[in-house]
Point group: C2
């Protein structure tokens, strides 16, 4: 029973990857799956059928995810990312009432949809729009509020990618060096002859199986190793990320095609640790988080060795996520200081290899690229973004001077499944903001 | 092997109780067991022999405890106790250099000892002395610093006991009512015919076994239920505190003798939940923590049902613990407001039944009493304190206008094992502070 449930949790698509998944039989609607309505973890104590457990994998099954995505620290070990001691940076409120009614046509459809409808349609938990640094829209659903952290999943990657680029700019990390120069433990693995640059841009060729029916499969070993999944019965694999990574073999050639595999970001974290002598999230606090004037400490899921899940374990509040996006929009300058060097932001925003990216076949992102753990749209607005499964987003539109941050608990893991709504919606808001100027 | 290690962790005295334990073979000295020197969790990743794991119970074995007591949230699920949004309350620094040399004679010994020696002798991790609200002494050892939380163990109880007394003062909780009036689930248990007052003062008669060799023993079931211990192999018992409590039977008579059993405090937490409609730590934040001007959010270990370990799961920084003690010294008024009603503090400080307390046989605390989860010394200085295993302390001396807060990782669980040092040391500091006026 437990094994079945854990397997179901996995098949429900844990998977930290960004490849399209097939729709299951129709899940509960956004309204039907509202976590407050469903009563998850309500009662003293909650009755058994209302409990959301880590141990049986239930926390990662929809619709429990609509509660659990806001409560990862209640479910598993986490480590603090200190906001430091400075004052909170101000993002003035200038709420606009016209944005809910902004309409757009989802890609490939004929009927129009409003921004408000789009937020519901994607199972949005929280969304905020910054325009020229002012909060023009802010909304929370279900168990979310302005002080409630939410798991960011792979949005996490963009934070650590940025830290890595800062270390490259400081000359502490050589992007052209082989990974094995910094991490000899990976020499014999598939990462061994990849460059730091290839890891950062996910152009490695790696053997990484996603067979959900095999309890020893890579994807299970990875999830358990990083602390994001309970160990299935009879699991005998590694229980720490850096114990797992050396077992990943090479497949194909490095440097040719963008292939989104979260294990690369774990190597980014390991590189940060080796170069700074600090755990990656401590380096994140020191280099970025403590300088943003964040309202809250953030926290990140850690494995049994105390190392953070740099590919997807960050939990933070919506406004604090907006601060990071705004800093990137402002070329690294925010809260009265140059936090990330202008050159680093420029390098990221310039993007990566479009031809390597095209090979991955993301139809909603045609013409885009992937650079240093960021998705670059290369559209007319020079948009770029951070993306995490189930709808987590930082969308930066420099032309519209806009940042949109969103938390969601979409039953589908892959953002690709609802990019047809998300991306045109962002563009429509951007155009409205430009119109109004 | 795993079973043996977990059993060892238990025998090392998990046990949340305060009864004397026998000294094991001489443990490593305070200097030898320094967690930085020992290299716990150092390295990227730490080598296997330097890892401190929850899963094998190693985190609760000395000397690993000298690292783990400062890292409970890295090891298990925790929930936030929000500090709110107000400014940090100021405790001015007025450090004195004379206190390290203050001497005293440990009870039953002939050789004198200094305050500085005493701190080392008890395996102190952090200690701070407030005099008239000013920090006159502050010291951190090992992995501790001013921003690092530490587990408070049963000091936690005094926080929730105070919240419960506030609810009694508000008329929301009737101290003379039977527990079963609020918690029908406990009607058939040993708690069923105990009054709220008896629970708060731990004068219940309960059957609660502490047979460490039986994996189904109460003490193991309790530790696993509250989330503070890994489940031993073949464990089939409850995994949430409120699932466990109803199984505790009555033994003896309620109201006659003080018998320190942590399960009572879990019932205090449950009562708080029933009366406030909030989880106990949320009520703690609302009633006390958010008003103290704390420097940091605190956090508390939660079970699989999301409920906090009210008997011993609080983690907080030293200075924030000092703020709570100072508030109690000042009769509930702190940070510019009356946080706890004066009448509530007076009631606690007046103490409980000395005759009931005497039956427990705490020789170092002769003449004392226990009231609302606080230890009352009834000495010439009207001292009262919060005590947690392995040396956690809030010691309030109203006459000397002094508050001492201490974190420690003594290899012995019971404070009784080193009260012969702690209590005379506190008294000596109090007298020095009085002399200097």
């Amino acid at each position: 029973m437990k094994a079945i449930r854990i397997k179901r949790a996995l098949t429900a698509a844990l998977l930290l990857t960004c490849t399209p998944v097939q729709a299951q039989q129709a899940p509960a609607s956004p309204a039907e799956s509202d976590p407050v309505q469903m009563g998850w973890m309500q009662g003293s104590p909650p009755p058994p059928e209302k409990r959301v457990l880590f141990s049986d994998g239930g926390f990662y099954t929809f619709p429990k995810t609509r509660w659990s995505f806001a409560h990862y620290r209640d479910l598993m070990p986490t480590s603090r990312i200190s906001r430091g001691n400075g004052p909170v940076s101000v993002m003035p409120l200038a709420l606009r009432k016209d944005l809910d009614a902004v309409t757009f046509t989802p890609t490939g459809r004929s009927e129009k949809m409003t921004w408000a409808q789009a937020f519901e349609a994607v199972y949005g938990d929280a969304v905020l729009i910054l325009h020229k640094g002012r909060i023009v829209y802010e909304r929370y659903n279900g168990v979310m509020n302005a002080d409630q952290p939410h798991i960011a999943f792979s949005v996490t990657k963009s934070y650590f990618g940025t830290v890595a680029e800062m270390l490259i700019a400081q000359g502490k990390l050589d992007e052209n060096a082989l990974v094995s120069r910094y991490i000899p433990e990976l020499k014999a693995s598939g990462f061994g002859d990849a460059t730091v640059r290839q890891i950062l841009d996910m152009t490695t060729g790696l053997s990484y199986s996603e067979d959900y029916t095999d309890p020893q499969a890579d994807v299970v070993r990875f999830g358990v190793s990083v602390g994001m999944l309970p160990a299935p019965p009879n699991y005998t694999g590694p229980r720490a990320a850096y114990d797992y990574l050396p077992s990943i073999a090479k497949q194909g050639t490095h440097g040719e095609a963008f292939t989104y595999k979260s294990v690369n970001t774990e190597v980014v974290g390991w590189l940060i640790a080796r170069v700074t002598g600090k755990r990656p999230h401590e380096a994140l606090s020191e280099h970025i988080w403590s300088k943003l004037g964040a309202e809250h400490d953030a926290h990140i899921v850690v494995d049994s060795a105390g190392y953070p899940f740099t590919a997807g374990g960050l939990n933070l509040t919506l406004r604090d996520m907006a601060r990071f996006g705004e800093m990137m929009r402002l070329n690294g300058r925010f809260n009265g200081q140059q936090i990330v060097p202008t050159s680093v932001v420029a390098k990221i925003r310039a993007g990566g290899s479009k031809s390597a990216f095209a090979k991955a076949g993301y139809t909603a992102l045609t013409g885009g690229s992937y650079k240093s753990q960021w998705w670059i749209n290369h559209n007319s607005h020079n948009a770029f973004n951070a993306r995490g499964i189930h709808g987590q987003t930082i969308y930066v539109d420099p032309v519209a001077e806009m940042v949109i941050v969103r938390f969601a608990s979409n039953p589908q893991a892959s953002n690709v499944a609802f990019d047809d709504i998300s991306l045109p919606a962002y563009q429509a808001i951007a155009e409205r903001l430009l119109d109004a100027q």
